[in-house]
């Protein structure tokens, strides 16, 4: 890595030319991915940028009249009863709910996913793909059927309660259905592969001689894990955390089915604006805000890691 990172001498013309050629090649290599995303994801989103500055249409869609209401309404709204300007506290509390759920889900998938990935990656070579496949097989089934099955597990008379009753841990069934516990449980279930697979890809490459060396230098198992293993598999953990945390922010199907849908998630709030709420500009503005926040955090992260790489 350090090889290409910093040249000790001021680059001459030849090096600069090589650098330009290298940059061009790297862009060319990324081109297919960029073209696909620009055509079928990022490009069409420009429509949303435009829409966020327009007036809501009477029955959905937009009217071609400029308006900033979409954006201002994300933060402040007129009170519907006395017309005073108030903070859009509903939006903020709904965002906070989604944010904390994402955080909890990420932590839970880390606690469960890292050991699982470790277990898979330390299987004899040739069997690893098989175990990895076992992790993804449950997700070949349909999300809704799967969520219904999860719900069946946590009902008052569900399997979990029955087992707990039988072994005498509890005396009466615990109400788990439609609780925050149910949402956390279900989200962890749904997002687990997004953590396990990237972490696996990193652990699989782990050079165990380094761990060995740490032990030889009298590091305990915990110290070795924290000081040697964790830094080595960090790229996988970070990739997994991004894959879990970010889509979680906008998720709403699983929280709705498992949480009973009493409280909106940020994804529902946006969906409501594009659906029965018929306020597309507000929906567009809310989602662009979310995207900008996540994007800034991510760029910040990339800058930091690439600095680390350059230093190291």
């Amino acid at each position: 890595m350090s090889k290409q990172a910093e040249t000790p001498f001021p680059p001459g013309a030849l090096e600069r030319e090589a650098e330009i050629a290298d940059t061009r090649n790297r862009w060319l290599l990324s081109l297919p991915a960029i073209v696909i995303i620009v055509c079928a994801a990022a490009g069409p989103l420009l429509v949303m940028v435009v829409y966020s500055f327009l007036t809501p249409g009477d029955y959905g869609n937009v009217k071609w009249e400029f308006s900033l209401d979409g954006w201002t309404n994300t933060i402040v709204q007129r009170d519907i009863f006395d017309d005073t300007l108030i903070w859009a506290d509903a939006h903020l509390s709904i965002f906070w709910r989604s944010f904390s759920l994402s955080l909890i889900t990420t932590i839970l998938t880390l606690i469960i996913g890292v050991p699982t990935a470790w277990f898979v990656a330390t299987q004899p070579p040739g069997r690893r793909e098989f175990w990895l496949f076992l992790v993804t097989v449950p997700f070949w089934t349909n999300l809704l059927v799967r969520t219904i099955a999860v719900q069946e597990l946590i009902r008052s008379e569900g399997v979990i309660n029955l087992i707990l009753l039988k072994i005498g841990i509890i005396d009466a069934p615990i109400q788990m259905m439609f609780t925050d516990f149910a949402i956390g449980f279900g989200m962890t279930y749904v997002y687990l592969p997004l953590m396990v697979l990237p972490v696996y890809a990193a652990v699989d490459k782990l050079d165990f001689r380094l761990v060995e060396a740490a032990h030889d230098l009298y590091a305990g198992r915990w110290t070795a894990f924290r000081r040697v293993i964790l830094p080595l598999i960090k790229p996988g953990i970070i990739a997994g955390s991004i894959l879990v945390f970010v889509p979680c922010l906008g998720a709403y199907v699983t929280p709705r089915v498992l949480g009973g849908g009493k409280n909106l998630m940020f994804g529902n709030l946006i969906e409501l604006q594009f659906g029965a709420g018929r306020n597309w500009p507000l929906g567009a503005a809310l989602s662009l805000m979310l995207m900008t926040a996540v994007m800034v955090a991510l760029i910040f992260y990339v800058r930091i890691t690439s600095r680390e790489q350059a230093d190291g």
Partner: protein, 340 residues
């Protein structure tokens, strides 16, 4: 996988060879009796492809955007005026079709399509309350079941997450007309809903099992769905709130940019036949709007209390109309406040 794809396209090819004519129906999911389609295909030689939608708003947005390839759509009555005013429907004149005489007169001069120039009745129903009578034996013909719940039912209540229906029930509970924009009234409505929500267990669809297994004891629900619940658990009863409850009807319309207009009209005519209309009802368990279809209905539907509205509660049923955009915006804010 490739092989699968080839087989699939071969199948499609064979299918398109067998049927010269085609028809693309865009309908609510799990709402179309496959036997009805088979019968139509056998009688007319037209191959029908069904594509599902999950909400009126999705269907409207998609058709409005264009390039969809659908011929027929089945919007709810509150949306029909929008579809017409947006110029999305073709004036297919069902009122001049052969089977139009079979349509029940009460469904001809309807507010959303006077004289039926665009649409043909598909199914109609009501949104009311559901109660498990094992746990509560009081009066169930009231919205108080979920808006001011009796202690017995607290924390076992589920309300369908359907903004239009729930707001209409709550507004009528406070003595207003659906789509009222009276701020004083709406303030009461919001306070009642926020207060009542503390006693709700969930706001979710698809709860037939949860009611049947008595995880939920009461709530807001549609009549056909409650009918299925009762078949699974005999303690379940359907109530028609005397303060007022929404009545709705889904209707079949031909799209302006339909590719197969004649086939689409043939289908409109086809479903006005009582025997065929009965097949629609048999599947989704809602009433249709065709005279004489009762004769072909399954026995258990003829007397079902979920389908046959008690005489004294009939006047409380209200066809809520399309709310003006400003009112809709108010309702959305209340709905968001409720779930924040």
């Amino acid at each position: 996988m490739k092989k699968l794809a080839i087989t699939a396209s071969a199948l499609a090819l064979a299918a398109s060879g067998a049927f010269a004519q085609e028809l693309n129906l865009y309908n609510w999911g799990n709402y179309t009796n496959p036997k009805l389609i088979e019968k139509f295909e056998a009688e007319t030689g037209i191959k029908v492809t069904i594509t599902d939608f999950d909400s009126n708003d999705t269907a409207l947005a998609k058709v409005k955007a264009g390039g969809h390839g659908f011929d027929l759509v089945v919007p709810s009555h509150t949306y029909v005026p929008i579809w017409i005013s947006e110029g999305l429907l073709m004036e297919s004149r069902p009122d001049q079709m052969e089977n139009f005489a079979k349509v029940d007169p009460q469904w001809v001069d309807v507010e959303w399509d006077p004289g039926r120039h665009y649409t043909v009745p598909w199914q109609w129903g009501t949104t009311g309350v559901v109660v498990n009578t094992k746990y509560y034996d009081g009066d169930i013909n009231t919205s108080a079941i979920f808006l001011d719940p009796p202690d017995e039912l607290k924390n076992k209540i589920n309300v369908v997450p359907e903004m239009g229906d729930v707001m209409a029930l709550a507004v009528m509970y406070h003595g207003g007309e659906p789509c009222s924009d009276d701020r004083e009234l709406l303030k009461q409505v919001r306070d009642t809903l926020v207060e009542a929500k503390q006693h709700w267990l969930g706001m979710d669809y698809g709860n037939i099992e949860k009611f049947a297994k008595e995880d939920m004891w009461a709530g807001v629900n549609w009549n056909g769905s409650t009918f299925r619940m009762r078949l699974a658990n005999e303690n379940i009863a359907y109530g028609y709130p005397k303060e007022g409850y929404p009545v709705w009807m889904d209707s079949v319309a031909v799209l302006k940019d339909a590719q197969n207009v004649d086939e689409a009209k043939a289908f409109q005519n086809f479903i006005m036949d009582p025997e065929n209309a009965a097949m629609i009802s048999e599947f989704a368990r809602y009433a249709n709007g065709i005279k004489g279809s009762e004769a072909f209905m399954p026995e258990d539907m003829k007397t079902a209390p979920e389908i046959v509205i008690p005489e004294e509660l009939k006047p409380a049923g209200v066809f809520n109309s399309t709310c003006p955009p400003a009112t809709q915006a108010l309702y959305t804010r209340i709905w968001t406040d409720l779930q924040k």
